[in-house]
């Protein structure tokens, strides 16, 4: 049994979309849903951790306090965190460590975002010391540019095809079509995907994740509190990985346009993306063979294939075989992105890593409806945030 366990008493989301309303509204909606799910009154919560948004001004930079004030101040300690796409995992880690340290029994974690249309762009001004500004100025390197580089490399190295990438999108669209929280509830055929506009060759419009509005929240507690609350059998967080890379990291990654150099010190045996889930497996005392499902960050359809390998479902170069066999489709050996993934949600940055955990909880409780993975007992999430943020959570029953 893992030693760092906390219980997940409740989960909640505000549906993803392009609603154009205040992000606080989505966050509060998600918190209320999670508290209701946990059968817990807000006034019993002893700590709140918020996942920040960078696109909604000051209230977004202090999201924990923003949500606490909106719910009604109760005097509890607060923290707000930002780690790009890994924000939600960091916020959950803050709550978990506080619970494990015995400093509180029950905590709320929430993240929400309201997003502009189109490409994510860097902060304004002449920012010649900011790599995120420079990559746009000097190279025109948008986020899809990086996704395109990874996808092309899979094709040249492993024989992936455009059909494979379209297959991922089509699969996830079938998974997410019945998900009430998904933004895109439409089944796409591979032909439709392949007919959509080319964005970053070989990736097409329907294969690149959009930016979305949305909110997600979880209620975490100590195992003792869960028992006293009559929820001793609630799904548990068995591990959270929030690791950074080990020098030298020679894998090109947003927002950098150069990597570390391996000329002096050799690259670590396990690259950064491989080490993210590995750290979670080590903490939980589990391995990929124990998984029933996985929620991975399909910022592009092709990136989902990279994650199969990064989380150890198969060896490098074998992801296409898994996909083609139907192993990662619901009903297969190890369904990936049963929620529909980012392909059906789009990305609401600070909420997304929390939303991945919400899906695992619904799956492990058997509440996932038409997208239910039969008999799910162990699930993993995997995700990576700009500037070296790993994010992986293992949930068990």
């Amino acid at each position: 049994m893992a030693k760092n366990e906390v219980a997940i008493l409740g989960v909640g989301m505000h549906p993803w979309g392009k609603w154009g309303r205040n992000f606080v509204e989505y966050g509060v909606h998600a918190i209320q849903a999670a508290l209701k799910d946990a059968e817990l009154d807000w006034r019993k919560v002893e700590f709140i951790a918020g996942g920040d948004t960078m696109r909604n001004g000051y209230p977004g930079y202090v999201s924990g306090a923003t949500f606490a004030k909106a719910m009604g101040w109760t005097g509890i300690p607060v923290m707000s965190t930002y780690a790009a796409c890994a924000t939600g995992a960091q916020a959950m880690e803050a709550a978990r460590t506080r619970i494990l340290a015995g400093m509180c029994d029950v905590a709320v974690v929430a993240g929400a975002d309201t997003t502009p249309k189109g490409f994510l762009a860097p902060a304004k001004g002449e920012r010649v010391l900011d790599p995120d500004w420079l990559r746009f100025r000097l190279l025109g390197a948008t986020n899809p540019t990086y996704f395109g580089l990874y996808a092309r490399r899979r094709m040249d190295l492993y024989g992936a095809t455009e059909q494979d990438f379209a297959h991922v999108k089509a699969k996830n669209s079938r998974h997410g079509v019945s998900n009430p929280n998904a933004r895109y509830k439409k089944v796409f055929s591979e032909e439709e995907v392949l007919a959509s506009n080319m964005v970053a060759d070989p990736l097409r419009l329907l294969e690149i994740c959009a930016t979305s509005d949305g909110g997600a929240a979880v209620v975490l507690s100590s195992l003792d509190f869960a028992k006293r609350h009559g929820a001793g059998d609630a799904p548990r967080v068995a591990a959270i990985s929030t690791i950074t890379p080990t020098f030298p990291d020679t894998y090109i990654d947003m927002p950098a346009f150069s990597t570390d150099s391996a000329a002096g010190i050799p690259s670590p045996d396990r690259g950064f993306k491989d080490s993210i889930a590995h750290a979670a497996y080590e903490e939980a005392g589990l391995g990929p063979e124990d998984l029933d499902l996985a929620e991975v960050y399909d910022l592009s359809s092709a990136l989902e294939l990279d994650w199969y390998e990064n989380i150890g479902l198969c060896k490098p170069g074998e992801a296409e075989r898994l996909l083609r066999n139907g192993d990662t489709t619901i009903g297969g050996r190890i369904p990936v992105n049963a929620s529909g993934g980012l392909g059906c949600f789009g990305e609401a940055v600070p909420a997304q890593a929390i939303a991945q955990v919400c899906e695992l909880v619904w799956q492990l409780r058997g509440q996932a409806g038409e997208r239910q993975v039969a008999g799910a007992r162990v699930g993993i999430t995997a995700n990576q945030g700009l500037f070296g943020h790993g994010s992986s959570v293992i949930v068990t029953k």
């Binding site: 002449e126 746009f136 000097l138 025109g140 540019t145 395109g148 580089l149 970053a200 150099s261 002096g264």
Partner: protein, 144 residues
């Protein structure tokens, strides 16, 4: 009257049109290279007090991957009007064992590219105004 050719960013590469080189830093203790020269400290753990030396990086390397952007990126990219798709290449410098991205040089098509092929550094105009052409590094197949 011809325009001045000035770097789009100061101090990142030599302006030698025939054989330009990126300018980086080397930490002689760990043997690691750094580009760009963001902060004057070695990023190799344990070498943070090393005296860094400025070095010109290899002009050649192997193509790691490439992609062509078909949509106009947001500012601060200075996109030509009308917008033209452009290819971005990532190249692994063989001596420095590091990957550096750059746009593909004009006159080369992405169809000619293959992961693993030998590439070299060239200079080309990124954008221009009434007085200046702003120059940046780009990648080109050695064979092209």
């Amino acid at each position: 009257m011809s325009k001045n050719r000035v770097p789009a960013i100061e101090g990142w590469f030599t302006l030698d049109e025939a054989s330009p080189q990126l300018l980086g830093l080397r930490d002689p203790g760990s043997g690691s290279y750094f580009f760009p020269k963001d902060v004057a400290v070695s990023h190799a753990p344990g070498y943070d007090d090393a005296e860094l030396e400025e070095v010109a990086l290899s002009r050649t390397g192997k193509l790691w991957s490439y992609t062509t952007n078909h949509y106009k990126p947001p500012e601060p990219y200075m996109a030509p009007d009308p917008f033209e798709p452009y290819t971005v290449a990532a190249v692994e410098l063989s001596q420095e064992r590091m990957v550096v991205m750059g746009q593909l040089a004009p006159g080369v098509s992405a169809e000619q590219l293959e992961v693993g092929m030998e590439m070299e550094l060239v200079l080309d105009t990124l954008y221009e105004d009434d007085e200046n052409e702003y120059v940046v590094w780009k990648w080109k197949p050695v064979a092209a």
